[in-house]
């Protein structure tokens, strides 16, 4: 009897120990470096954060995120993660390209990913989006909904990436209404442009005074200024990056989705599965990485015919029937 007890105890001990050991397998450590807009910009950074958060929940990784308050701190933030032996460090935003280029060369064992930037290195995965395709699509949507024939575009910082949004948007507008006017404004030429809702609102008001009745923004956290102006003056706004339809239901016509969340989640998943690959990943309309948002918040604004028409536009871009001008490739 005592022998049996002993064996039983040993068995128990062993299972307990095994469980203990299992619980102690180090979880995958993921470092996320967000851009100036911060995790609650309801746009670009929020999407990235949502993707990482989803991975934390579903894949059981250990997530730590930081927000860069100025560009000079970026390199230090990446370096810190790499030094602490994080398995994957993700940089959000074009501004982090240089920092990742530098730090990834110094820490070849650490894996890196960058959104909106291109870094060629063995341990870096670049996640790029075909923003012009989605902008074209919401441009068409704006032109369909505009009664005055004047639509607006508000860019954040004046950089090629945002110009790419603008060019695509303009082309989309003209495809539906060749006579339409597109008013174009940028908030600024420094990083502060992503955090200046007061100025975005002022720009929106100025565009509205010139008869714009649908305005699209690609301005990160500044975009909330557009939504304020739009609900104040009863016109339509179009959101960007995240689904922003919920911010002001009935005012936000749709959002151009740039599924940074999916890209981030997939990258983390690939590291977890051991199938991480360096190189460039491009997300577009084709694979659903770029899309337009239709949900309960904006459903009332769209008739079935209009939805059908927009999906037609989408299809013709995917099949290549329509070529969207790309700022990166044209002058």
């Amino acid at each position: 009897m005592s022998k049996f007890l002993l064996v039983f105890c040993l068995l128990m001990f062993q299972t307990a120990f095994a469980e203990f050991a299992l619980a102690n397998t180090p979880a995958l450590k993921i470092g996320l470096v967000l851009d100036k807009g911060g995790k609650d910009d309801k746009s670009f950074n929020s999407a990235a954060y949502a993707g990482a958060k989803q991975a934390e929940k579903e894949l059981g990784i250990e997530l730590k995120y930081v927000e860069a308050t100025d560009n000079n701190s970026l390199e230090t933030l990446h370096r810190n993660f790499a030094q602490k032996k994080y398995d994957l460090v993700i940089g959000i935003g074009f501004a982090q390209t240089d920092a990742i280029k530098k730090v990834s060369a110094l820490f070849p064992e650490t894996k890196f990913a960058i959104v909106d930037g291109e870094v060629t290195a063995k341990n870096v995965r670049s996640l790029l989006f075909e923003e012009h395709e989605g902008s074209y699509l919401v441009g068409a949507a704006a032109a369909m909904k505009s009664k005055t024939g004047v639509v607006g575009f508000i860019g954040g910082m004046d950089i090629p990436l945002i110009r790419r949004f603008q060019k695509g948007f303009e082309a989309g507008v003209k495809s539906v209404n060749p006579k339409a006017t597109v008013l174009v404004s940028y908030i600024g030429v420094t990083g502060e442009a992503w955090n200046n809702p007061a100025k975005a609102k002022e720009i929106a008001l100025s565009q509205i005074s010139q008869k714009a009745d649908v305005i699209f923004h690609a301005a990160g956290a500044s975009g909330s200024g557009l939504f304020d102006a739009a609900s104040d003056k009863k016109i339509f706004a179009i959101g960007v990056d995240s689904n922003q339809n919920w911010v002001k239901p009935g005012v936000v016509l749709t959002s151009m989705l740039k599924k940074v969340d999916v890209a981030v989640f997939e990258t983390i998943k690939s590291v977890k599965a051991g199938s991480f690959q360096s190189g460039v990943n491009r997300f577009g309309l084709k694979d659903g990485g770029i899309d337009w948002a239709l949900d309960e918040n904006n459903k009332k604004l769209w008739s079935a015919a209009e939805i059908e028409k927009l999906n037609q536009v989408k299809k013709s871009i995917i099949t290549g029937k329509v070529t969207v001008p790309d700022y990166y490739k044209t002058k």
Partner: protein, 290 residues
């Protein structure tokens, strides 16, 4: 140009200059008393955050403004203690204050709203917007009147000036110049905090991180370039706001001549610089400013 556009331009100029107007007035008192003040950005941010958070929680704009003023004034006591008790350099501490505000707000907002920086949006119904407009008008006009009265008509204002020009004179009549400087800095932070409140509750509908976007520094530049003259500083700020409004208007016009966007964006700064050169006067910096 139709009168409608002109009116729009005028209102836009006012709106663009509002927070800077407050920050410049606040900075003026501190500078005039002999304390260099580069921490205006911090008081704007603190004021903006406090106003947005309190207005959201209490549904009262008035409380938001009051809280913004008080919290900014309280926050400036860190500056005051370091400067006056420990004789620290005001430029260094001012920079520190800006960094502290940037770091502190995300921590507070994380505990309050589970968000690092932005606050939930306040009420933006038409009624609320009207109330906000009235509030801003009343507050701005009274701020200008009170600041003018303190600076030019009151003995307190005169003593502040003496604290910056010749502190011995104050000591000789039994007034502590340190005390006056302390009060001037606190008053300045209080006024600037209200400017922040306008930024987050009137010009926007919530606080978003770093939303002051350099306005504090522009205000300081306005004070210095205007030769530490309050009314001239206001004029410079209004001019800057006007140039900003023009700049926005210009960008939206489809001009036949293609002017580079960067150039248009630069216009407000350029216009302000040119105007400052024309406005130049003999008035010098407060003699004992440090």
């Amino acid at each position: 140009m139709s009168s409608e556009i002109l009116l729009g331009l005028f209102l836009a100029s006012i709106r663009m200059s509002l927070p800077i107007l407050f920050a410049a007035s606040g900075g003026y008192f501190s500078e005039k008393s002999g304390v260099a003040q580069i921490g205006l950005e911090a008081y704007l941010l603190i004021g903006a955050f406090t106003a947005a958070a309190v207005s959201f929680q209490t549904h009262s704009l008035v409380l938001g403004y009051v809280a913004a003023a008080l919290v900014a004034a309280a926050f400036s006591q860190i500056f005051n203690i370091l400067i006056f008790k420990f004789k620290a350099n005001s430029i260094v501490v001012g920079t520190g204050m800006n960094l502290l505000a940037m770091g502190l707000i995300p921590i507070v907002s994380k505990t309050l709203f589970e968000s690092t920086g932005s606050t939930p949006a306040i009420d933006t119904s038409d009624a609320a917007l009207n109330q906000s407009l009235i509030m801003v008008s009343v507050v701005t006009v009274s701020m200008l009147a009170i600041c003018y009265w303190i600076a030019e008509k009151s003995s307190f204002g005169l003593q502040i000036k003496f604290a910056g020009e010749k502190s011995e004179a104050l000591t000789s009549v039994g007034v502590s110049y340190i005390k006056r400087r302390w009060q001037a800095v606190t008053l300045g932070a209080l006024i600037t905090g209200v400017g922040g409140a306008i930024l987050s509750t009137y010009l926007a509908s919530s606080y978003s991180p770093l939303m002051s976007a350099g306005r504090g520094f522009i205000a300081l530049a306005a004070v210095i370039f205007a030769g530490w003259n309050l009314r001239k500083a206001w004029l410079v700020v209004l001019l800057f706001g006007f140039a900003e409004a023009i700049q926005i208007q210009l960008q939206n016009m489809n001009l036949s001549v293609k002017i580079p966007n960067e150039f248009i964006q630069m216009l407000p700064y350029l216009a302000t610089l040119v105007a400052l050169l024309l406005l130049r006067n003999k008035q010098q910096a407060p003699k004992e400013i440090s």
